[in-house]
């Protein structure tokens, strides 16, 4: 929560800056009456301190409200995951974690017996890691070609790439589906089934024009002299890419990796549309489907929340450790994660 703290410090500087305008207007009188001058200063200092404290209280109040709004869904999720179904129907807005009502961790144990959460988890991990890795290779090489190499039609090619960004991604869904279906990849049963599912889930999203653009701009900020120096030092283009450009663009690459991973973790519509074999469900569909299919069509919400809590843990960990990069990446790319 570094960002919150930052906000606090910048906010509480403000009163300090705004207050001194008052004593300044009085300096004319104060200078002629030396003693008054000193007394005024003391008063002003006191006033300044009070304002500072009031400002701080205001800021913290505001932040507390905002923090509550952000934390509320998570709190509800955890509280609900601890409840039995009966208690959930009695008081589903009860946010207290333990006292009253039958509460324990049985939902968490049940998640693994009732559903195939582990499998979905692994599916998601495989798809996420593989597509991120392949996507990174494609992004790095394209950005390198577009920024460092010179070839005919380079600008036209890049403009063409950018133009595809004008089309909303949802519009591709139907064409993509048709392509995938025509290739027979929606047949996900039998021997090659897993591979078809894998291709379906990864291949359509390997090229991200936006990431290429982001990295290309980053590469172009690297001074040309470094390239010339490396040439004199006897490196090949590929070695220069590996030894100089990639390390220098590492923050951007980490941002891209994180955003891509988050995307893979969150994606819902495409896998829902194309995954025909339940064995290859990703975690998002798993969470949605697994708990509602029972006898009465009503989802077991506490159970579902327990599963969601479990799924969120890795994301929490990732966020805590890579917070700096995620915030930087999100603010840099101007898109939400």
């Amino acid at each position: 929560m570094d960002e919150l703290k930052n906000e606090v410090t910048t906010q509480d500087v403000d009163p300090e800056v705004s207050v001194p305008t008052e004593p300044q207007t009085q300096t004319g009188d104060a200078l002629t009456q030396g003693v008054m001058h000193e007394r005024d200063m003391k008063k002003e200092t006191k006033k300044q301190d009070v304002m500072k404290i009031l400002g701080k209280i205001g800021v913290y109040l505001f932040l507390s409200v905002m923090a509550f709004i952000v934390v509320f869904p998570f709190l509800w999720m955890i509280a609900t995951s601890l409840k039995h179904l009966s208690e959930y129907y009695d008081s589903n807005l009860d946010l207290v974690l333990f006292p009253g009502g039958p509460r324990d961790f049985h939902n968490f144990a049940e998640v693994f017996t009732e559903t195939d959460l582990g499998r979905y988890f692994i599916n998601t991990l495989i798809v996420g890691v593989a597509s991120t890795f392949m996507s990174l290779i494609i992004t790095v090489l394209s950005a390198f070609a577009l920024s460092r190499l010179k070839f005919k039609g380079q600008n036209a090619f890049f403009a063409g790439l950018l133009a595809t960004m004008m089309i909303p991604g949802e519009l591709f869904t139907i064409t993509n589906y048709k392509t995938v279906a025509d290739l027979g990849w929606t047949n996900q049963f039998g021997d090659g089934g897993w591979f078809n599912a894998f291709l379906t889930l990864t291949l359509p999203f390997l090229v991200s024009v936006f990431y290429i653009y982001l990295l290309k701009q980053n590469f172009m900020q690297i001074p040309n002299e470094l390239y010339l120096a490396a040439k004199v030092d006897g490196t090949t283009d590929l070695k220069y890419l590996w030894k100089v450009m990639i390390p220098l663009a590492l923050p951007t690459l980490i941002s891209i990796t994180i955003l891509k991973m988050m995307g893979a973790w969150n994606t819902y519509m495409w896998p829902k549309l194309t995954t025909t074999n339940q064995d290859f469900y990703l975690i998002t569909i798993g969470l949605r489907e697994a708990f509602s299919s029972a006898d009465n069509q009503q989802p077991d919400i506490p159970l579902q929340m327990a599963a969601v809590t479990l799924v969120s843990i890795p994301l929490f960990l990732v966020f805590i450790f890579l917070r700096k990069y995620i915030m930087r990446g999100v603010s840099r790319s101007g898109i939400k994660g």
Partner: protein, 366 residues
């Protein structure tokens, strides 16, 4: 290793498609850089001096002409095979590597029979670092170094391969005035110690004059004059060279020659034997003026700046092509700063005459 440039020409194709005019950055440059000397390529920006340097390095290919290192034609050779070290204006250190990694980098790229063991590389890197006195800073990142230190790292990186030719592109322009003085002496020392043939590019004439064995003055891609710094200063071949060298700059007057006498305004100021009658441009070095109550050059006194060792007199004259005339005289001379006018006689060897049209030097007997 002497470096020979033969009729070197570089033409850049025009970016402006309509006019289609190509830009000739370097025009027919022929010069031999003697072995083990420090040569300064001097000229205003856009005169082709950096392009020349890049062609010697191999980063740019000449449009025509040849480059020889010793007897070997290297015109077509790739930069990494020429055995050069290059220091860039902004140093071009790899920002993500430590000083040591930066210096090691050229060695790690050696292939085939030149390949070195890790220990040998480290030893060489330390040798190079010692030479430029940065062996204490090996674990720092470039961003943690001062400009002067970064400069030394760049030189160490260029030297570590033991290049045959060291090329420096405006090596001092990013340093502050004091550091510049210090670093240029340093470069001189390193060059003397290693004995590597060195070419360095600068637009600062003082810098070039102070450390070069030979300077080459360029203008718009054409070599104007080459020679030892003092020779060029004492004997410029044209007005451009006369104006470009020297601080404070040379004073330029409109003048005419009649009966082998130089007239500036109404008065004959100097005997110039051997010059034909006609309009000329007269250039006078600041130290070429002598205070004389009856002197023929009558100027309007603006102010007097006392600089300790000598006195700088700022004055005006209707025929001067510069707004003010700056003359430097010994501080022993007493001058009344409140006087209206000041009169000078001229030292003949500090006065250069140039044809008013062609700006070429007109020689007279001193």
């Amino acid at each position: 290793m002497k470096v020979e440039l033969r009729n070197l020409t570089k033409v850049f194709p025009s970016r402006d498609k309509k006019s289609g005019k190509d830009v000739t950055a370097v025009n027919n440059f022929t010069f031999e850089i003697p072995d083990g000397k420090l040569v300064g390529l001097l000229g205003p920006s856009g005169c082709g001096k950096s392009t020349t340097l890049y062609m010697i390095s191999g980063l740019q290919q000449p449009t025509s002409g040849k480059i020889f290192f010793g007897e070997e034609d290297v015109t077509e050779l790739a930069p990494e095979n020429r055995g050069i070290g290059l220091v860039f204006q902004n140093y071009a250190l790899y920002p993500h590597m430590t000083v040591q990694q930066n210096i090691l980098f050229p060695l790690q790229n050696l292939r085939g029979k030149d390949k070195m063991t890790k220990e040998a590389m480290l030893e060489r890197a330390y040798e190079a670092a010692k030479l430029v006195q940065i062996d204490e800073l090996m674990d720092r990142k470039p961003s943690e170094l001062s400009g002067g230190q970064q400069q030394r790292v760049a030189i160490a990186r260029a030297l570590v391969k033991m290049p045959r030719v060291l090329l420096l592109d405006e090596p001092l322009s990013n340093l502050d005035a004091r550091l510049r003085l210090q670093t240029r002496e340093e470069i001189r020392r390193i060059q003397k110690e290693t004995g590597i043939t060195t070419v360095f590019v600068t637009h600062d004439q003082e810098e070039a004059m102070s450390i070069s064995d030979v300077i080459v003055v360029m203008k718009l891609g054409v070599v104007q004059q080459t020679g030892k710094p003092q020779e060029i200063y004492d004997n410029p071949t044209n007005l451009f060279v006369a104006k470009f060298l020297g601080t404070p700059p040379i004073n330029v007057f409109k003048g005419r020659v009649e009966n082998e006498r130089l007239y500036i305004g109404e008065n004959a100021v100097l005997d110039v034997k051997g010059v034909k009658d006609g309009n000329v441009t007269a250039a006078i070095r600041p130290e070429g003026f002598v205070l004389d109550e009856n002197g023929p050059l009558v100027c309007e006194l603006s102010n007097v700046e006392i600089m300790g060792r000598d006195v700088s007199i700022v004055s005006r004259h209707s025929e001067s092509l510069n707004p003010t005339i700056r003359s430097i005289i010994d501080a022993d001379n007493r001058i009344d700063a409140t006087a209206e006018g000041v009169r000078f006689t001229l030292k003949p060897h500090k006065v250069f005459l140039f044809d008013a049209e062609s700006e070429e030097r007109l020689y007279f007997e001193v």
